[in-house]
């Protein structure tokens, strides 16, 4: 398989996904199959090709430096899972 379990765990860590052991195994199998399938891209000669970094060709208009109304607290925090006053509350970060 293209991916090791270590790599699966590393990527899951980068993506902040706490996968179960079964999920890790399943991911390993399925992601490896997908990566094998996409490997055919290496056959394509792209030495003289620029990547399509942007789908829309042209420059976009900039906006003027004007202050626009912000959200009132009900909108800003209306969906907050936890808050203290008008701040979002999150579990502590271990330093």
């Amino acid at each position: 398989m293209s991916l090791t379990l270590e790599e699966v765990r590393h990527v899951a860590g980068l993506a902040r996904l706490s996968l179960s052991a079964e999920e890790e195994t399943l991911m390993r199998k399925q992601l490896s199959a997908i990566l094998d399938a996409v490997a055919e891209l290496s056959q394509v000669d792209t030495s003289a090709v620029e990547p399509t970094s942007h789908a829309a060709g042209e420059a976009a208009p900039w906006r003027p430096d004007e202050v626009r109304p912000s959200f009132p607290p009900e909108k800003a925090l209306g969906n907050a899972p936890a808050k203290v006053g008008t701040s979002f509350a999150v579990p502590r970060i271990i330093e």
């Binding site: 993506a15 902040r16 706490s18 996968l19 179960s20 789908a55 907050a80 979002f88």
Partner: protein
Amino acid sequence: MEPTDLSMLELGRKLASGELSSVEAVRASLARVDRFDGQVKAFLRVDREGALAQAEAADRRRKDGRRAGPLDGVPVGLKDLFLTEGLPTTAGSRILERFVAPYDGTAVKLLRAAGTPILGKLNMDEFAMGSSTENSAFFPTRNPWNLETSPGGSSGGSAAAVAARMVFGALGTDTGGSIRQPAALSGIVGLKPTYGRVSRFGVVAFASSLDQVGPMTRDVPDCAALLQAIAVHDPQDSTSAQVKAPDYLAEIEAGVKGMKLGLPREYFELPGMDPEVRAAVEDATRALEKLGAQLVPVSLPHTRYALATYYLVAPAEASSNLARYDGVRYGLRADGANLLAMYGRTRDQGFGLEVKRRIMLGTYALSAGYYDAYYLKAQKVRTLIKQDFVDAFRTVDAVLSPTSPTPAFRIGERVDDPLAMYLSDVFTLPCNLAGLPGLSLPCGFTRANLPIGLQVLGRPWDEARVLRIARAFEREHDFHRRTPPLGVA
């Protein structure tokens, strides 16, 4: 004739003349919802009060002689990734199950300005990742043509709702085929406009350089009218083009005489294409030839790499777009002793398997040491795929192909085999990679009475021609008037 048998424009005319009221139209739609959605399960949320209130307002406008436009008062549905202020917007995911949108997206604002009452939010594959609506965190939607089969995805709820005439039209989004493929499988018309034609502001993002909003309707003129309402430059979207939309209905009946229509060899050579699909699509191309178009063989040599390209670019962008779902400011939050645990559990519990799979794939493709070989390489091959179309469009005005290699497949048949599922989009993906407009319309039925879709791809900004080609075919046939056998036996 039921009000719900009318097209959007037909209803619009009857509303204008006062023959029907918008409230009646909404009630008729709701009656069908009540009757059929228990089986079809297209809706995640039906907003009865809201839709009726909007219908009443439309009726008042009509009385005051201030109709907002041809679609004022015509009930529509929205795929549940369009943010609608005050209503939950879930993107088909548990992680947003209780998220109430604090603002209206631009396309939604434009529809409100056009006066279309919004009947409700429609089911979808979670975060638009899927081709069958089986990846919805809540339940799969069923194809009104055969309830054991999928309506396609990711805009499966939108397709099914239109096909079952529970709404007169709907908006979907298309990243790799998510409007066109369900349109084909559900026997309706679906259009993905040129990238940048319709604002993405207020649409839950999947893959930023590929996502586009588009109309899903029962016939081509409706599709044009609904596109017209939303094809507006939006200063809130930096990828929204400053190209003024033409009148999409102006030339829609002008026919295809003198047009050159390309048949891409690589599409028709695909192994695994259902023979009935092949036959119906080939018949359709010949029908267009009889109507005065010239069929021209063309080659799009990098077609075979489109799947791999898409499945690196889209997940990569998605892995970044979905990082905001972290339980901090909105959405699901799982318990965790510390931040890391909270993040991990929230995202593990909140996201379904396909979403997790694509996040993992995308993260890997962008990660240190792999970026060049995967993401960057795919973006380069994408340029070649785009160039294939540029070259083809030197000799033809549009390209024809099947939309989906197979008709609707059984629910459960492909969901455990990601690669098999991904193959549903082989014909639709290249169009997203190239940023072109693409439309699917019904061109036949299988012996089992499942719809077959014909795909028309056009040059950038050439939606009017694509609609015209589709309409030329449509009006010579009655595929768009057939109704699914719901409530029969």
